[in-house]
């Protein structure tokens, strides 16, 4: 049982409209000891124009998970006395009315732990799921969101978002909180308890502790948690003091996970204002989405003015910010793309459903190489859009967007593709692709500036294996297929890439994570 399923005892249902003179600040100062993260959560509710707040108290006797959490605290600190838990539900309807199905804006679990040797209780947000403030129409792509159903006094209501949680610095720390956000977006049950995480990491709260002077989790422990719940963890580290300096931009690796619809954790070293002999502290946050800026100056300027020798533009260049949950500050913060410098960056842990090889940046480089070879050998077929593709490729001006997808999502995408002339891919060609594609693979969409960022369309795409090591030297073993204007390329058994004609000769729309993806977890309720 979790905190969403538990019946609560109503404490209050308050009119929170501005015209009712409700102040978030005043309310939180008076009722919740000026808790800063709660202010962030209330501000998200305000941005959604919330009209009421339902406060329910949850009891340990009704909730096995709460009993488990409190039992861990008793082991961790003998002074622990007990907890008070409030479930705060934010509504877009007035108090004492029957909410409509879309009226739940979000909820937060506010937990106050009391200790005999401390005056005030220790407060934290045990969890919160809030509807994101912006979505696709506002260029916000929060692929990790999913549905959460909450049992409240007026009934069961669903909210769509990414679970946020805050450390208590005793039985769970920032790594637990970040992992919980990330794993919740993947696992069928939509949550993983701290008890389970600690069991997998070997934390027993007596001989092996976390929090305070005992510190946090190591990368190995985090990997054990991810693999222990059945997922794969891809690690990218930058440890210059150990002689390991990441040779590439970490942002490209991070983007590879996020654009594929999977969450990632990003860890960094804090800047110590008073340098000491002790190693600087570290912090880790979960990255759950990104924003997009179709008018950004960066791709052109980077190349023209700042000497970047690029063979193509990565679609990551149009990324404006990463959407992150930071357990210290709250959910859905936007972190500008280059805000975190490499000097501070230390680790990315990308969560994936299975071991993937090659990674996104390697697949993108190999995909570009295959496209370059195609354009070199077939430079022109007297069809406008193919010929433009070849020119952009030859001049190192392609825009490439790389992400993992699955066969059924891709086939669904193909079924819906139309050129502006109304042409569609022939049934025969779709069936040929169906026969040769594995369950999961890399899709690298090839486009050009303006076509990509303004029209959100592309020349086509190349498909690469995600279960084959990059061969050395490079050969065609990663190549599955390429669909370009007027031509589809597939590989026969003797490593020969063969072109086949198609009437789909124009540009087509980009893959849309929210409408083209098939449901990866039928028993769950993930939305993208």
């Amino acid at each position: 049982m979790n905190f969403r399923d538990v019946p609560g005892r109503r404490v209050d249902w308050i009119d929170t409209r501005i015209e009712a003179r409700f102040s978030n600040f005043l309310f939180i100062d008076r009722r919740y000891r000026s808790h800063s993260v709660l202010r962030r959560i209330f501000s998200i509710a305000r941005m959604h124009r919330y009209q009421s707040l339902l406060i329910e108290e949850l009891d340990e006797s009704d909730c096995a998970l709460l009993r488990e959490e409190n039992a861990a605290l008793r082991v961790r600190r003998a002074e622990y006395q007990g907890s008070t838990v409030h479930r705060l539900a934010f509504w877009s309807c007035l108090p004492e009315t029957t909410p409509e199905s879309g009226d739940l804006i979000g909820y937060a679990i506010f937990k106050s732990d009391r200790f005999s040797d401390e005056g005030d209780p220790r407060d934290h947000i045990y969890e919160a799921v809030m509807r994101p403030i912006r979505n696709e129409p506002q260029n916000n792509f929060i692929h990790c969101r999913r549905n959460y159903t909450v049992r409240t006094e007026p009934g069961e209501y669903t909210v769509q978002g990414v679970l946020y949680s805050q450390q208590n610095d005793l039985t769970y720390v920032c790594a637990h909180a970040a992992l919980r956000s990330a794993l919740s977006s993947l696992v069928p049950a939509a949550d993983v308890s701290y008890g389970r995480m600690n069991e997998l990491a070997g934390i027993d709260h007596s001989a092996h502790r976390v929090g305070g002077a005992d510190g946090g989790l190591s990368p190995d422990q985090m990997e054990s948690i991810v693999t222990g719940v059945g997922y794969h963890c891809e690690k990218i580290v930058h440890e210059p003091k150990l002689g390991h300096s990441l040779p590439t931009e970490f942002q490209r690796d991070l983007y590879g996970f996020i654009e594929s619809g999977y969450p990632a954790l990003m860890g960094f070293e804090l800047t110590d204002p008073i340098p000491s002999a002790a190693p600087p502290e570290r912090h880790i946050i979960s990255v759950v989405g990104h924003t997009f800026n179709e008018d950004t100056w960066v791709p052109e300027a980077q190349r023209a003015y700042f000497g970047d020798e690029l063979s193509y533009f990565s679609s990551e260049s149009w990324l404006s910010t990463y959407v992150v949950h930071d357990d210290n500050f709250g959910p859905y913060f936007c972190m500008p793309r280059h805000f975190l410098k490499k000097d501070n960056f230390r680790i990315i842990l990308g969560l994936l459903p299975q071991r993937i090889e090659p990674g996104a940046t390697d697949a993108e480089a190999a995909g570009f190489e295959y496209l370059r070879i195609i354009a070199e050998i077939v430079p022109r077929i007297s069809q406008d859009w193919y010929d433009r593709f070849a020119v952009f490729t030859r001049l190192n001006l392609l825009v490439l967007r790389t992400f993992l997808t699955d066969r059924s999502s891709y086939l669904r995408h193909l079924e819906t593709l139309r050129s502006w002339e109304g042409d569609r891919l022939e049934r025969e060609r779709i069936e040929e692709l169906t026969d040769l594609l594995p369950e999961c693979f890399w899709m690298i969409e090839a486009s050009a500036q303006e076509l990509f960022n303004a029209s959100r369309r592309k020349f086509g795409e190349i498909l690469l294996s995600c279960t084959t090591s990059v061969p050395e030297p490079l050969n065609f073993s990663l190549f599955l297929a390429a669909r370009l204007p007027g031509l589809i390329f597939t590989q026969d058994s003797s490593s020969v890439i063969e072109p086949k004609p198609t009437v789909l000769r124009g540009h087509t729309r980009l893959f849309d994570m929210s409408s083209d993806s098939t449901e990866p977890f039928p028993e769950g309720s993930r939305v993208s």
Binding site: L217, E269, R282, A304, I373, S382, R388, E498, P499, P501
Partner: protein, 68 residues
């Protein structure tokens, strides 16, 4: 305009002026050639990028530094 942009402008304009197709489309007779695998096709730049990435991943696979 930088070199690539000038070249792009020139080549795109060229496309509209001429019709020097090497290969007729599928309504015609001849398709583009099949592409035989050949190590000479691949550029050293990409090979070296992939090699460096692979080497770094191998070196850092067991690194578990710091506490979070």
């Amino acid at each position: 305009m930088n070199y690539a942009t000038k070249q792009l402008t020139r080549e795109l304009r060229e496309l509209t002026k001429t019709d020097n197709s090497q290969f007729q489309n599928h309504a015609g007779i001849r398709l583009p050639p099949r592409i035989q695998e050949d190590s000479n096709l691949f550029s050293e730049e990409v090979e070296s990028f992939l090699r460096n990435k692979r080497e770094y991943a191998r070196k850092t696979r067991s690194v578990s530094e710091g506490r979070y």
